[in-house]
C-alpha cells in the first residue's frame, strides 16, 4: 500500500476529503463575518449564535410547522436574516458612529442572550435533526465511505460562497455596496439609500450564518451552545485570510479545514490549536492577513 508520511494513502485521502468538507463550513461562516466586517466594519460576535439560531429554526420549524429540510434551507436564512436586519436597524445603527469595540460588545451581549434563553428552554444536550431521505446513505469513494450528506454540504457551501463572491465583486448592487462603505456621503448624494444598503448587507451576512446552521443541523446535535465553540475558530480563519477579504475568507476556510483534518491524523492533540498557530504565524509575517489589503 502506498504510504504518505507513514499513513496509508487511503487514510490520507479520506482525511483530506473530510478536511475539505469542514473547510467548506469554515468558509461559509467566515464569509458571512467577512462581508459584515468588510462592508460595515462591525465585528459580529453574534455570528455563532445566529448560526445556532438557523439550526434551531430548522429543528423547530420541522417539529411544530412541518417545514421540511429543503424549504428550511430557503426560509430559515430569510427569517433569521430578517431578525438580523431588525438588530441592525434598532441596535447597531445607534452605535455605528462609535468605536468598533461597542459593536463587538453589543453583538457579544446579544449572543449571550440568544444562547441563554434557548438553554433555559431546551437545555444543552441538543436534539437530532433527521437527514433528508434523499441524502441518507453514503458514497463509496474507493478510499473511504463518504456519507452523502457531507458531500452535499461541500457542494452547497461552495456554491453559496461563489454566489456571494459574485454578488459583491461582480454586480452593480455589489459595487454600490462597496462604494457606500467607502464614502457613504457621496453615495447618498447620488441618491443611493445607504442606510438601507447597510441593513440589507447585515441581514445577508446573518442569513449566510443561518444557512450554515441549517446545513449543520443534520450533522451535529442541535444545541444552544453549538455556535460559540465554532465562532472562535471562524474568527481565526477571518484573521488569517485578512479581515474583510471575501475571497480570502473562502480560500482560507478551505485551507484551514484541510490543515486541521491532517493534524487530526498526525498529532490529534493539537487539532484544536493548529489554526491558532497558523494565525500567530500569519500575524507575525503578514499582519494584514494572507489576502488583506491594509494593516
Amino acid at each position: 500500500m502506498t504510504m504518505i508520511f507513514g499513513v496509508p494513502m487511503a487514510v490520507f485521502m479520506g482525511q483530506l476529503t473530510l478536511g475539505l468538507v469542514n473547510g467548506a463550513f469554515y468558509a461559509l461562516l467566515s464569509l458571512g463575518l467577512a462581508v459584515i466586517f468588510g462592508l460595515l466594519k462591525i465585528v459580529n460576535f453574534a455570528h455563532g449564535a445566529q448560526y445556532m439560531l438557523g439550526a434551531f429554526a430548522a429543528l423547530l420549524g420541522f417539529r411544530y410547522l412541518g417545514i421540511n429540510y429543503w424549504l428550511a434551507l430557503i426560509l430559515v436564512p430569510l427569517v433569521i436574516g430578517g431578525l438580523g436586519m431588525l438588530v441592525e436597524r434598532f441596535l447597531l445603527r445607534r452605535i455605528a458612529h462609535l468605536d468598533h469595540l461597542y459593536g463587538l460588545l453589543l453583538t457579544f451581549g446579544l449572543a449571550l442572550i440568544f444562547e441563554g434563553t434557548l438553554v433555559n428552554f431546551f437545555g444543552v444536550s441538543g436534539a437530532r435533526y433527521a437527514t433528508p431521505e434523499i441524502l441518507q446513505g453514503g458514497l463509496n469513494l474507493g478510499f473511504m465511505f463518504l456519507p452523502t450528506y457531507r458531500a452535499w454540504v461541500l457542494v452547497a457551501a461552495l456554491t453559496m460562497c461563489l454566489f456571494t463572491w459574485f454578488m459583491i465583486e461582480r454586480t452593480r448592487l455589489g459595487a454600490y455596496l462597496r462604494a457606500g462603505t467607502e464614502n457613504s456621503q457621496l453615495m447618498q448624494a447620488f441618491g443611493v439609500n445607504v442606510p438601507l444598503l447597510i441593513t440589507l448587507t447585515y441581514g445577508f451576512g446573518v442569513g449566510l450564518a443561518a444557512f450554515a446552521g441549517v446545513l449543520a443541523a443534520p450533522l451535529y446535535p442541535v444545541s444552544p451552545t453549538m455556535g460559540s465553540s465554532l465562532l472562535i475558530v471562524v474568527f481565526a480563519v477571518v484573521v488569517i485570510g485578512g479581515m474583510g477579504s471575501i475571497l480570502g475568507a473562502i480560500l482560507t476556510g478551505l485551507g484551514m479545514g484541510i490543515i486541521e483534518g491532517l493534524t487530526k491524523v498526525y498529532y490529534p492533540e493539537a487539532a484544536n490549536t493548529v489554526i491558532f498557530l497558523v494565525m500567530i504565524l500569519v500575524l507575525m509575517l503578514r499582519p494584514a492577513g494572507l489576502f488583506g489589503k491594509e494593516a
Binding site: 437545555g123 444536550s125 437530532r128 465511505f145 451535529y220 487530526k264
Partner: protein
C-alpha cells in the same frame, strides 16, 4: 413586695432559661439554620445531567424532610461554577467565610470538585459529591470532608468494558477526551480489557471539547478493532455517536461502547443512533417501584426524568439531613461520622455504605439501550441487564492511595 419579688425572680428565671435554650440551640445547629450550598454547572456542557434539575431534586429532599431540622430552618444557596475550578473554589470559600454554609452539594466537573474539596478540608466544611466521575476524588484526592455518592470511573470501566470483552469484543480502539478525566478512564478501561484477555489496538486522544469527530471515526474504522470505546463524556460522546452512525460504523460490523453515558445523552441522541449500546449506571428511574415512584414525582416537578446524578443529589441530601437530625448538630465532623454509621437503602442506593475513604459504595447496574421497537415511551430508554454488587463495583480499599486508609 413579695409579689413583686416573686414576679421579678420568675421573669429572671424565664429569661435565663430562654437564653440558655438559645445558646444550646446555637451550639447544636450553627446560626440556628442548616445552610446548604448547591454548586454545579448551571449553563454549560454538564448542565442537563445535574444543573437546575439537581437543584430541584435538592429542594424536593428538603421539602420532603419538612423544611427544618429539629426546629432550625434549612436554607439553600446556589451558584453556577461554569466548570471552572477557580470559580468553584472561590464561591465555596465565600459561602463558608461569609454565609457559614454547612454543606456543599452538587459538584459535577471533577476538576471543580478536587479544588472545592481542598477548600472544604482547609475550612472544615462538608461536601457531598454527586456529579463527578474521576475515581481520584476518593483516591489520591480524598479528604475527611467529603463523600462521593453516585458513581466513578472505576465501576464504569469495570462494568461496561468487562461485559463487552466477555461478549467477544476483545479488540478495542479508544477515543479519549484529552484531559484528566479521559486519561483516568482510559487507564481504567485499558487495565480491565487486558485483564480479561482483550487488547487495545489503537486510540486517539482528541481535544476537549471537539466539534467534529468524522476524522477520528474514520481512524477507528481503519483500525479494524471490534469495539470503539468512548472514553469521553457529555457533548463529546453525543457528537461521536452521531458521527459514528453517519459513517455507518455499526453497520460495518464494529460496535460502540460508551463508558460514561447519562440518561439525557441517550434521550438527546434518540434510540435509532444509540440502540443496543452497553453502559454502566448507578441508577435508572425505571429500575423498580421505589425508583419509579420518586421519579414520577420528580417528573411532575421538572418535566424531565431524572438522571442518576439528580437522584443522587436527593438521596445524599436526605441522608445528610437525617444525620443532622440524629446527631443534633450540623458540625461537619460529627455529621459525617453519623452518616457513615447508617447504611443507605433508599429509592436510589441499594446496599449502600460510606467507606473511610469517603466513597459511598452501592450496587451498580449494567444496562443496554433499548431499540426503538422495544421502547414504549419517550423516557423508556434502558434495560437493566445485571447488577454489579456494591462490594465488587468500586476500587477495593486494599488498592487505595487515600491518606485516610491504612494500607
Amino acid at each position: 413586695m413579695t409579689l413583686m419579688k416573686k414576679t421579678l425572680a420568675a421573669s429572671i428565671a424565664v429569661a435565663a432559661a430562654s437564653s440558655m435554650a438559645m445558646s444550646t440551640a446555637q451550639a447544636e445547629i450553627s446560626d440556628g439554620e442548616v445552610r446548604i450550598g448547591y454548586l454545579a454547572d448551571m449553563s454549560g456542557t454538564y448542565r442537563d445531567l445535574a444543573g437546575p434539575g439537581g437543584l430541584s431534586a435538592l429542594e424536593m429532599a428538603i421539602e420532603d424532610f419538612g423544611g427544618s431540622v429539629n426546629g432550625s430552618p434549612i436554607v439553600v444557596f446556589s451558584a453556577d461554577d461554569r466548570n471552572s475550578a477557580d470559580v468553584g473554589a472561590n464561591t465555596v470559600r465565600e459561602w463558608i467565610d461569609q454565609r457559614n454554609v454547612d454543606m456543599v452539594a452538587g459538584l459535577v466537573a471533577s476538576s471543580v470538585t478536587i479544588a472545592v474539596t481542598k477548600v472544604l478540608e482547609e475550612n472544615n466544611g462538608l461536601g457531598l459529591v454527586s456529579g463527578s466521575a474521576a475515581s481520584s476524588v476518593t483516591n489520591e484526592h480524598c479528604t475527611p470532608n467529603h463523600i462521593h455518592w453516585v458513581y466513578d470511573t472505576y465501576p464504569l470501566a469495570n462494568g461496561t468494558a468487562k461485559a463487552v470483552v466477555e461478549q467477544g469484543g476483545d479488540t478495542w480502539f479508544l477515543l479519549t477526551a484529552d484531559y484528566a478525566f479521559g486519561h483516568a478512564l482510559e487507564a481504567d478501561v485499558t487495565s480491565v480489557v487486558e485483564a480479561n484477555g482483550g487488547q487495545i489496538v489503537g486510540g486517539v486522544r482528541h481535544p476537549f471539547p471537539t466539534n467534529d469527530f468524522s476524522s477520528y471515526i474514520l481512524q477507528a474504522q481503519g483500525s479494524g478493532a471490534k469495539i470503539v470505546g468512548l472514553a469521553n463524556a457529555g457533548a463529546d460522546t453525543v457528537n461521536a455517536i452521531t458521527t459514528a452512525s453517519q459513517f455507518g460504523l455499526t453497520q460495518s460490523g464494529q460496535q460502540l461502547a460508551g463508558l460514561l453515558i447519562f440518561l439525557n445523552d441517550v434521550h438527546a441522541l434518540g434510540l435509532e443512533a444509540t440502540q443496543n449500546l452497553l453502559l454502566t449506571t448507578g441508577w435508572y428511574w425505571d429500575m423498580d417501584d421505589q425508583a419509579r415512584e420518586w421519579s414520577e414525582r420528580y417528573f411532575e416537578e421538572v418535566g424531565r426524568m431524572p438522571t442518576m446524578v439528580q437522584a443522587g443529589i436527593y438521596s445524599s441530601t436526605m441522608h445528610y439531613l437525617k444525620a443532622v437530625e440524629a446527631a443534633g448538630t450540623d458540625d461537619p465532623e460529627t455529621v459525617r461520622a453519623q452518616m457513615a454509621e447508617e447504611p443507605i437503602n433508599d429509592f436510589f442506593a441499594r446496599n449502600g455504605r460510606i467507606r473511610e475513604d469517603g466513597r459511598m459504595v452501592h450496587d451498580m447496574y449494567l444496562a443496554q439501550v433499548k431499540t426503538p421497537e422495544e421502547s414504549t415511551g419517550e423516557w423508556d430508554l434502558y434495560e437493566i441487564l445485571s447488577t454489579i454488587p456494591a462490594e465488587e463495583a468500586y476500587r477495593p480499599l486494599s488498592e487505595s492511595q487515600c491518606k485516610l486508609v491504612q494500607n
